[in-house]
């Protein structure tokens, strides 16, 4: 079963930027309720988009370098990276259907 994988500052380049498949990074933190609420949706999406998009999670508290680099100032933020560049930026808790519409449009 495809599950979101945890990434940190050190692995970010290898896992996200150099990935051959597009990667979603979920910027989150333990104190963020909407992050807790979006997590099960991302679990489902990881399964549904298995092989097409890799889903990852980055704890902004533990990995402030990467969070600062992408100017994350609100969580949850989802960034979709393709060929090392963020091409979709989704801020806040969003319904699953809306996330899928955004991802599908970006992959098309």
């Amino acid at each position: 079963m495809a599950q979101p994988i945890d990434v940190d500052d050190n692995q970010f380049e290898q896992t996200v930027l150099k990935s051959a498949t597009p990667v979603v990074v979920d910027f989150w933190a333990t104190w963020c309720r909407p992050c807790t609420m979006i997590a099960p949706i991302l679990d489902e999406l990881a399964e549904e988009y298995s092989g097409r998009i890799t889903f990852t999670r980055l704890d902004v508290d533990q990995n402030q370098k990467t969070a600062a680099q992408y100017q994350i100032m609100s969580i949850p933020t989802l960034l979709l990276f393709k060929d090392g560049k963020p091409i979709v930026n989704i801020v806040g808790l969003r319904p699953k259907e809306e996330l899928k519409r955004n991802l599908d449009a970006a992959l098309a």
Binding site: A29, W31, C32, R33, P34, C35, T36, M37, I38, P40, I41, V60, D61, Q71, I72, M73, S74, I75, P76, T77, N89, V91, G92, L93, R94, P95, K96, E97
Partner: protein, 308 residues
């Protein structure tokens, strides 16, 4: 998946979950439809201190998780989908969703509210780049930086207090001369040296480069304009009912809230409303839960009566 139920509940906050506990426990087949995850707006609250039964307080998230567990024990089913509309067909209610159509003998609308946006230039552009709607989530990003919070109610003042743990200065921007927040919160805020107040003031625009840098403000009594340098602006100006898809189906008040009587009945037989979405709701968790119970009991009576 089954598509016919006795009761469909739209919205998974305290009103919907409470209704679900009652209808499921009454042995009515019950489906709760929620577009995100259950919990509603209160799930964002760090601490709920005024819900009876929790003398130490409880987080909004934990409280609604407990409500969901309790409803599931009695057999409430939940579905993640967005509701696009409701129509009437052969005495049944057809709920149209992104996951297909579902029919029920009675519907309880507990869709709650969404946070109001300011509707000023820069707000959409800088969302996630200094404009935030969740102080609990985002205070962390503004360590030792000045921020502003817009609003004067309980949420705004609780969030202002939370922000002082990180920010160097918290400016409360409020369009009136006094706060609506409860007295105990006001006292805490006035005693907090990091919090300052700008009364009778509104935000005209949010400006910056890449990220928020400053706010353009206007005093509503003198029309005087001013600039406030901030790294972040938190919006906590109140709530709007989620009823756009119900226009023309149910009677709404001027602000868009659903009009009900004291049995939570709307003007459409068999359609009930409960919680923050209802006109004259006091928008408190305990009241929403109460509304849910009332709506569920009259929905059950409606179904029993219709069967005779």
């Amino acid at each position: 998946m089954k598509t016919e139920y006795d009761v469909i509940i739209i919205g998974g906050g305290p009103a919907g979950l409470s209704a679900g506990i009652y209808t499921a426990r009454a042995r009515l087949t019950s489906l709760l439809i929620e577009k995100n995850m259950v919990g509603g707006l209160i799930a964002d609250a760090e601490l709920v201190e005024n819900y009876p039964g929790f003398p130490e307080g409880i987080s909004g998230y934990d409280l609604t998780q407990l409500m969901e567990q309790q409803a599931q024990i009695f057999g409430l089913e939940t579905l993640t989908a967005e509701v696009n509309g409701i129509k009437l067909k052969d005495g049944l209610k057809v709920v149209q969703t992104t996951q297909g159509e579902f029919t029920a003998k009675a519907v309880i609308i507990a869709g709650g509210c969404e946070r109001t946006k300011l509707g000023v230039p820069g707000e959409v552009e800088f969302t996630g780049k200094g404009v935030s709607y969740c102080a609990t989530c985002d205070a962390f990003f503004f360590r030792d930086q000045p921020v502003a919070i817009v609003g004067g109610g309980n949420s705004a003042i609780s969030e202002a207090l939370q922000l002082t743990k990180f920010a160097s200065r918290v400016t409360v921007i409020h369009r009136r001369q006094e706060l609506r927040a409860t007295r105990i919160l006001q006292e805490k805020a006035f005693a907090e040296p990091k919090i300052e107040f700008l009364w009778n003031t509104v935000v005209e625009s949010i400006e910056g480069e890449d990220v928020v840098k400053r706010l353009q403000l206007r005093d509503v009594t003198t029309d005087e304009k001013s600039t406030l340098n901030v790294a972040g602006i938190f919006v906590s100006t109140g709530l709007n009912p989620s009823t756009n898809h119900l226009k023309g189906i149910l009677a709404l008040d001027e602000a868009g809230y659903i009009i009900t009587n004291d049995k939570m009945e709307t003007d459409a037989p068999g359609i009930f409303a409960a919680g923050d979405i209802r006109s004259s709701s006091i928008r408190q968790t305990i009241a929403a839960a109460g509304d849910g119970a009332v709506a569920a009991i009259y929905a059950e009576r409606f179904i029993t009566h219709a069967a005779k």
